[in-house]
Point group: C2
Chain length 223, copies 2
Amino acid sequence: MSRKEITVLEDLLSSNKKIAREIREHLTSRGILTVNLLSSPGSGKTSLLERIAEILWPEHRLAVIEGDIETDLDASRIKARGVPAWQITTGGACHLEARMIARLLAEIPEETEFLFIENVGNLVCPAAYDLGENLRLVLLSIPEGEDKPLKYPKAFLTAHCLVITKIDLLPHIPFDLEKTKREARKINPQLAIFTTSARTGEGIRELVDYLFQQRERWLKSHA
Amino acid sequence: MSRKEITVLEDLLSSNKKIAREIREHLTSRGILTVNLLSSPGSGKTSLLERIAEILWPEHRLAVIEGDIETDLDASRIKARGVPAWQITTGGACHLEARMIARLLAEIPEETEFLFIENVGNLVCPAAYDLGENLRLVLLSIPEGEDKPLKYPKAFLTAHCLVITKIDLLPHIPFDLEKTKREARKINPQLAIFTTSARTGEGIRELVDYLFQQRERWLKSHA
C-alpha cells in the first residue's frame, strides 16, 4: 500500500473506533449486550441466530441487524419469527462499519436484552472493524476445514468466542475437532469454544447460557 | 466512503488493471492459460487443484501461485506433488493484486501450459482485482448453501466458470442443485458450470477438458 492509502485507511479505522465506542456506551447503558457474528459465507450465522431466537423469544427480547452485500433474505428469515430485524445491504462493501449500526440505534426496542449483528460473510475484512459490540463471535463450520484459524488469524484473535457449527456433518467429513480447538487456542488462549449444530440443536443451549453470563458480567461492570 | 477514499480506491484499481493487462499479454504470448480461482474460505480450492494436477502432471505442465493471509500450507500441498508452486502471504490483505503476480513471472518455467492462481479465501474483495488471468473460476461448495450467487453477485458476475464442489456431501445437506445453477445463470448467463468432488474425483475430468478447450481458444485468438 502507498503512504496515501495507509493514511486513508488509518483515518477510516480511527473514526470507526470512535463511533463504535459511543455505540457500546449507549447500548450497554440501555442494558443491551451486543454480539457481532463473523464468519465465511455459508458457515451458518443466520441458522445459528434462528436457533438462539427459538430459545430466547418471546420470554427474552432480542433484536437482529443483518449485514449483506445484496438481498434481504437473512432479515426476512429472522422477522418470520417475530423478532425485530433490520437488513443493511452494503452494495458491494465487504464488511459492516460502526456508522451503519449507529443509524439504527433509535429503532431498537427499549426492552431489548441482546442485539445480534450478523456481519457480511467474510472471514477477513470484518475483523478490522469494531461495531460497538461487547462480544465478538467467530463461526467455523466443519466443512471449511481445520486450517482456518491459522490461515485467518485476525478473526480468531479478536473474537471472544468460537462457535464450531454443522457438527452434525462430522461423520461425513475428515475433521480433527480437538486439533482445531488447540490451534484456535494457540492464536487466542482466552477463546470460549462451543460446538453446535443448527440442524439438531446440539450445543445451542450452552451457547445461550454463555450469552446470559456475559450479559450479567457486562451489566455488573457498568453498574 | 468519502470522496478521498473513493479517489484512492479508483487509483489503485486503475493501476492494478494496467499491470494485469501486461501480465495477460506476457503469459498468453508464452502459451500459458492463466486461471484465477475465487471462493469463500474452505470451499476446496487447493483440493480441486490437487485433483487437476493429478490428471495433468507430469504429461502437461502447470504451475500454481497460492495466495493466503498467513501460512504456506497450500503451496506445500501442491509442491508435494512435484508441481512448481509459490506462496504469496498477504499479511492481512484480503485479496491478491496484479503487482504481486508480476513479481513472480520470471520464475514460471518456460514449458508451463497452465498457471493457476489461488486467491485469498474471500468471496467479496478478490472479485474487484484482475490478476491478468484469461479465465476466472468461482467455487461454491454444497455446505455453503444455495443463496450465495444472489448474496455475492460480483464474484459470479465476473467469473467465466462456476465449479460446484463437495458434491459428495449432497446426500447429507439440503441443497437444491438445479435452483443454484438457475440463480447463478440469472446473474451470469454465460457461466459454464461443473459439479465436482475432490474426494471422489467426480467432474474433474470434464473441468480439465474445459480448461484445454479454453487454452486452445485463447492461443488461437492470439496467434
